[in-house]
C-alpha cells in the first residue's frame, strides 16, 4: 500500500491501465489526455490556524455536550409524560395537539443521536487527517498457481475418495440424500386441512369454501347491534350492513354460539349488504325474480376479486364500489361487474319474509362467496 501525494503510477504492461482504452479489436489505445496525478493537497483552516483548530474542537465538544443534555431531557420526559391519561384524552399532555410523550421522547432521542452523529462527522471533516491515500487493488481472481494447486488438491481428494471410480456408491448416496427432502416437505402437510376435509367434517357451522352459515329461515340482522330487519324499516336508498343472526346467537347458557375462529370464518363469508331500491329499477337475473322483497335486495358483501368487504354504495346509480381495487358492481343488475378487475358478479342471497315480518334467507348462497379459486366450478350451483 503506497501512501503519498504524488499519484503517478506507470501503466504496467499488459494491465488494463486506465490511461488508455480499448478500441473495437481489444487493442490498447492511449487515452487523449494524460493522467495529471493526484491533486496537490490543500490544507484546511483547522490545519494551519491553531485558533480555527481550537474553535472546531470546542464546537465538536459542544455538540457532544448537547447530546448529553438531550439524554437528560429524554429521561425527564419519560418520567413526566404519560401517554394516555386513562381515556377520553382529557388528561393527556399535549403539545400543539400532538401527544406530548411521543413528541418529547422522540425529539430528545433524535437530538441525542443527531448531535453525536454531527459531532463525529465534524470531527472527521475538520480535524482528522484528510490526506487522500492510495491503495493498490488486487485482481478479483486467484492466481494461476493457486488455481492449479486447488485443482490438484481437489483431484487428489476425489481420487482418494474414489468417487469417480465408484458410480454405484455415488449414485446411491445422491439418491438417498435427494429423497431426504421428503420428510421435510411431508411434515408440513399438517399446517392445515384441505377444503375437502373441512367441508366433509364440518367442524363448525358453514365450513368449507362452498358453504356459509346462511340457510333457510336464518334472519338477516343489522351488523354490530344484531337487531332483525322488517321490510318497513327500509326506505328506498337505504343500505344496511347486515349479518346472519347466527353471528349474534347465544345458546341456553348465554354463551355465544359462534366465537373465536368459527365466528371470524363465518363473518368472512356471510357478511351481506341489504339495499332497497325502486322495484321498477331492479332488473333481476333469470330465475331470481322472487329473490327480492319489494325492491329489497341482499348481496354478499365479500368482493369476488380478492375478498375485501364492500359497502361503498351510490344509491342513484345502484353501483357498489370496492375500496381495494375499485371493482364496481351494479346491484340493480344482479351485481354484474361494470368496472374493475373483478371477474364475477357478487353472489345474491335469496330473501323472503318470515311469519313475523322479518327478512330471512330462503337458502344459502347458490355459489361460493368470495375470491375465485382453482376448483371453483362456475357451471354448477352449490346450494344445499
Amino acid at each position: 500500500m503506497t501512501e503519498g501525494h504524488d499519484g503517478h503510477l506507470p501503466g504496467l504492461p499488459g494491465d488494463d491501465s486506465h490511461n488508455g482504452s480499448h478500441d473495437g479489436h481489444g487493442e490498447l489505445v492511449p487515452g487523449p489526455i494524460a493522467d495529471p496525478g493526484l491533486p496537490e493537497h490543500v490544507w484546511r483552516p483547522t490545519d494551519v490556524d491553531p485558533k480555527a483548530e481550537k474553535r472546531a474542537e470546542r464546537q465538536i465538544a459542544t455538540l457532544f455536550g448537547l447530546s448529553t443534555v438531550c439524554v437528560v431531557l429524554f429521561v425527564v420526559s419519560y418520567i413526566v409524560f404519560d401517554v394516555n391519561g386513562g381515556g377520553g384524552g382529557a388528561t393527556v399532555r399535549t403539545v400543539g395537539g400532538l401527544g406530548a410523550s411521543n413528541v418529547a421522547l422522540g425529539v430528545t432521542l433524535a437530538g441525542a443521536l443527531l448531535f453525536i452523529g454531527i459531532g463525529l462527522i465534524q470531527w472527521a471533516r475538520k480535524l482528522m487527517g484528510d490526506h487522500e491515500i492510495v491503495e493498490m487493488r488486487h485482481p478479483a481472481r486467484s492466481s494461476d498457481e493457486d488455481r492449479e494447486e486447488t485443482l490438484r488438491v481437489l483431484a487428489l481428494g476425489a481420487d482418494e475418495s474414489g468417487i469417480a471410480r465408484r458410480p454405484l456408491v455415488r449414485n446411491s448416496l445422491l439418491g438417498a440424500v435427494g429423497v431426504l427432502i421428503a420428510p421435510a416437505v411431508i411434515m408440513l402437510k399438517d399446517l392445515g386441512p384441505t377444503n375437502r376435509d373441512v367441508t366433509d367434517s364440518q367442524p363448525y357451522i358453514g365450513a368449507g369454501l362452498e358453504h356459509t352459515v346462511w340457510e333457510k329461515g336464518v334472519r338477516v340482522v343489522r351488523d354490530v347491534v344484531g337487531t332483525p330487519i322488517r321490510t318497513g324499516d327500509l326506505e328506498i336508498g337505504d343500505l344496511i350492513n347486515a349479518e346472519p343472526e347466527t353471528i349474534f346467537e347465544v345458546d341456553e347458557n348465554g354463551d355465544p354460539l359462534l366465537e373465536g375462529v368459527p365466528l371470524q370464518i363465518a363473518k368472512s363469508k356471510a357478511a351481506v349488504v341489504v339495499v332497497r331500491m325502486d322495484p321498477d329499477e331492479n332488473n333481476p337475473a333469470p330465475g331470481r325474480e322472487n329473490w327480492a322483497v319489494d325492491g329489497i335486495l341482499c348481496y354478499s358483501k365479500i368482493c369476488t376479486h380478492v375478498g375485501c368487504p364492500i359497502s361503498l354504495y351510490e344509491k342513484k346509480t345502484h353501483h357498489l364500489l370496492c375500496p381495494c381495487h375499485q371493482s364496481t358492481f351494479d346491484l340493480a343488475d344482479a351485481a354484474k361487474v361494470v368496472f374493475g378487475p373483478a371477474a364475477r358478479p357478487l353472489p345474491q342471497l335469496p330473501l323472503m319474509v318470515d311469519a313475523d315480518g322479518y327478512l330471512v334467507a330462503q337458502s344459502d348462497f347458490k355459489e361460493p362467496v368470495g375470491p375465485s379459486y382453482w376448483e371453483r366450478d362456475s357451471q354448477q350451483s352449490t346450494s344445499k
Binding site: 499519484g7 404519560d82 433524535a110 399446517l191 380478492v306 376448483e375
Partner: protein, 587 residues
C-alpha cells in the same frame, strides 16, 4: 563473570524489560494470543474507501437495518403474537368492550401503556420504509454508474435478494398488529394465493391453517418476521459486505485514479468516524420522524374484522406497485373443464412481480451478454456515457412508477379531483406507452450530454462572454478546461464498433458463426448491441484534440490586436486563465 542463562525462559516473545503498564495494550495482547486478529487487522484498519455522497446510499440501508433490529427487539418484549380473542379493557377508551385479537390488544398496550412504546413502534415502521427506499436508491446508483459489472455481478444478485427479503419483511411486519388495514391486506393475500392454478386452495389452507382467517397466520408471520427473514438478511448483508471489502469499493475516474488503485480515506479513523456518525444520523432521523410524524395509527383502524374496511386501503409504499398492477388489470377469468383460471389476479400479482424481479436479478448478466465485455471494472461510468443502460433503467423506473401511481389511484382521485375510472384507463395505456417514451427521451438526453462533454473537451467551456467582431459577427469566448476536469471527461472507454451486419463467413480466427438457435440469438445480440452503442458519441481521440487546440490557436491570432485593451471581456481570450486579473465585477 558469566551468568548461567540455561534456565531463563527463551520462549517468551519479548525480553523482560520493564514497560509502562498499559491496560488496553494488555487486553489486546491477551486477545491476540488466542485469536490472532492482528494479521486481519493490519490489512483492514487502514483500508481505503473512496469518498462520494452517492456511495453512502447503501449505508442508509445498512444503518436502517441496525435501527430495525434495535427497535424490533424492544417491541418483542411486549408484543403477543396470538390471535386468541380477548375483550379490550385497557386505557384507550374508544375501544373498550370491543373484541379483538391478543396481537392487537398488545399493540394497543405498546402504544398507550408503555412509555416510549408508540415512539419505538413508529421508529420501527419509519426505518422499515427507509430501509427499502434506501435499498432501491442504492440499486439505482449502482446500476446507473455501472458498478454491477464484473467482478461485482454476484454482489448485485445478493443485493436484489436483499431487496426482495426486505419487502417481504416489511409486509409481514406491518401485518402483525392485526389491525383493519393490514388485515385487509392479508385478506387480499389469501385471494392472491387462492388464484394460483392447481395448488391455490391447498396453499391457502396450509398458510392459514384452514379457512381464512383462522388463528395461525399471525403467529406464523411473527416467526417469519423476527427469526427467519432477519437471519437470512443478516447472512446476506454479511456476504454483501465481505464482497465489498474483498473487491474494494469502486471509484469515480479522476486525477490519480486508475483501474488498479483505490484513492480515498483510510478506514481508521476517517471512514469509521464518517460511517459511525452517519449511523447516528440515520438513527436520529428515524427517531425524529417517529416522534413527530404519525404512522399506522392502529387505534383509529380498530382490530381486523372481515366485514369492515376503510377507504384508501393500500399496502405500504413498497408493495404499491403490484397493488397498482392488480387495480388496472382487466377482469379476465377463464372457465375451462369445471375449473377457474383467475388470470385477473394471478397475472398481475404472482407472474408479474416474479418476472420483474427475475429481470432485475439478471440485469448484469444480460448486459454482459449484450456488450461482450469481460474485463474487470473498478472505475465508474457517468450515466450519460452508457446511454443504452441508463435509458433501460429509466424505462423500468417509469414502468414501476406507472404501477405505483395506479396503486394510489383513489387517493390521487380525491386529492386532485379526478375520476378513478379515468385514472385506471389512462394507466392501462400508460404502462405500455410511457416506458418506451421514457427510454427514447433518456437515450437522446444522454447522447446530448455526451456531445456537450465532447465540445467542452475540444473547444473549452463557455464563459458567457460574447464578443462582437468588427465585421459584426458574434462569438462566445471559451476557456480551456482545467487539467483535472479534462482528464475526468476524457477518461472513458471507447465504445466498440457495432456498425454493419454480422459477418457471414468464418471470423479472423477461423471460427464458424453459430447456426440454428445460436444464429438467431447472435442476431438478437447484434441488434441489441447496436441499440446500445450505435448512437453514442465517442470520446475524442488525440488527433481530434490536437485539431481542436489548433483551431483555438488560429482564433487567438485574429484577436491579437485587441490584447492589452481594458475593454471588458477581452481578458477572456481563450488562452489565459483569468484568476488574478482585475475584473470589473470585483469592484
Amino acid at each position: 563473570m558469566s551468568i548461567d542463562t540455561s534456565k531463563v525462559a527463551s520462549t517468551n516473545t519479548t525480553a523482560a524489560t520493564a514497560k509502562k503498564p498499559n491496560p488496553v495494550g494488555a487486553a489486546a495482547e491477551w486477545a491476540d494470543d488466542r485469536l490472532g486478529l492482528a494479521t486481519l487487522a493490519k490489512k483492514n484498519l487502514r483500508k481505503v474507501f473512496p469518498d462520494h455522497w452517492s456511495f453512502m446510499l447503501g449505508e442508509i440501508a445498512l444503518w436502517s437495518f441496525v435501527v430495525l433490529l434495535l427497535s424490533g427487539v424492544f417491541l418483542t418484549l411486549w408484543f403477543t403474537p396470538s390471535m386468541g380473542e380477548t375483550t379490550y379493557q385497557g386505557s384507550y377508551a374508544q375501544l373498550r368492550g370491543v373484541g379483538m385479537s391478543e396481537a392487537f390488544a398488545s399493540t394497543l398496550k405498546l402504544s398507550f401503556d408503555v412509555r416510549g412504546g408508540l415512539l419505538m413502534r413508529q421508529v420501527h415502521h419509519w426505518s422499515a420504509m427507509l430501509f427499502v427506499a434506501a435499498m432501491m436508491v442504492h440499486l439505482l446508483r449502482v446500476f446507473f454508474t455501472g458498478a454491477h459489472r464484473k467482478p461485482r455481478e454476484l454482489n448485485w444478485v445478493v443485493g436484489a435478494l436483499l431487496l426482495l427479503l426486505g419487502t417481504l419483511e416489511g409486509f409481514t411486519g406491518y401485518s402483525l398488529p392485526d389491525d383493519l388495514l393490514s388485515g385487509t391486506g392479508i385478506r387480499a393475500a389469501d385471494g392472491f394465493v387462492k388464484s394460483q392454478p392447481v395448488i391455490g386452495t391447498y396453499m391457502s389452507f396450509l398458510l392459514f391453517g384452514g379457512e381464512f382467517p383462522g388463528d395461525q397466520i399471525i403467529p406464523r408471520l411473527y416467526i417469519i418476521h423476527v427469526l427467519l427473514i432477519p437471519g437470512l438478511l443478516l447472512a446476506l448483508i454479511s456476504a454483501h459486505m465481505v464482497l465489498l471489502v474483498y473487491h474494494k469499493h469502486t471509484q469515480w475516474p479522476g486525477p490519480g485514479r486508475t483501474e488498479q488503485n483505490v484513492v480515498g480515506f483510510p478506514m481508521l479513523p476517517v471512514y469509521a468516524a464518517k460511517a459511525g456518525g452517519f449511523f447516528f444520523c440515520v438513527f436520529g432521523v428515524s427517531a425524529l420522524m417517529g416522534g413527530l410524524l404519525s404512522i399506522n395509527p392502529i387505534w383509529k383502524y380498530g382490530p381486523y374484522d372481515p366485514s369492515k374496511v376503510t377507504a384508501g386501503s393500500q399496502p405500504d409504499w413498497y408493495m404499491g406497485w403490484p397493488d397498482g398492477a392488480l387495480r388496472i388489470m382487466p377482469n379476465i377469468e377463464g372457465h375451462f373443464w369445471h375449473h377457474t383460471w383467475s388470470w385477473n389476479v394471478f397475472l398481475p400479482i404472482i407472474v408479474l412481480p416474479m418476472l420483474l424481479f427475475t429481470i432485475v436479478l439478471v440485469l448484469p448478466f444480460i448486459e454482459a451478454w449484450i456488450t461482450g465485455d469481460k474485463r474487470d471494472h473498478h472505475l465508474l461510468q457517468r450515466p450519460r456515457n452508457a446511454p443504452g443502460r441508463t435509458a433501460t433503467m429509466v424505462a423500468l423506473m417509469t414502468l414501476y412508477a406507472v404501477f405505483w401511481i395506479a396503486g394510489g389511484n383513489d387517493i390521487i382521485a380525491i386529492r386532485l379531483h379526478l375520476s378513478i375510472n379515468q385514472i385506471t384507463y389512462f394507466n392501462r395505456a400508460a404502462v405500455f406507452v410511457l416506458p418506451v417514451v421514457a427510454y427514447l427521451i433518456t437515450k437522446r438526453w444522454c447522447i446530448s450530454l455526451q456531445r456537450k462533454d465532447r465540445d467542452d473537451l475540444l473547444h473549452g467551456y463557455e464563459t458567457g462572454i460574447i464578443m462582437r467582431s468588427p465585421e459584426g459577427g458574434y462569438s462566445e469566448r471559451h476557456l480551456p478546461l482545467s487539467t483535472g476536469r479534462a482528464f475526468r471527461l476524457a477518461s472513458r472507454d471507447r465504445d466498440p464498433d457495432v456498425f454493419g451486419e454480422l459477418p457471414a463467413g468464418p471470423d479472423a480466427n477461423g471460427v464458424e458463426p453459430p447456426s440454428g438457435i445460436g444464429s438467431r440469438l447472435a442476431g438478437v445480440r447484434h441488434r441489441l448491441r447496436k441499440m446500445m452503442y450505435a448512437d453514442n458519441i465517442q470520446p475524442p481521440t488525440i488527433d481530434e484534440l490536437e485539431q481542436g487546440h489548433h483551431h483555438a490557436e488560429h482564433e487567438h491570432e485574429l484577436q491579437v490586436p485587441m490584447e492589452g485593451h481594458a475593454a471588458d471581456g477581452h481578458q477572456f481570450d481563450g488562452h489565459h486563465l483569468v484568476e488574478g486579473e482585475k475584473l470589473r465585477a470585483d469592484d
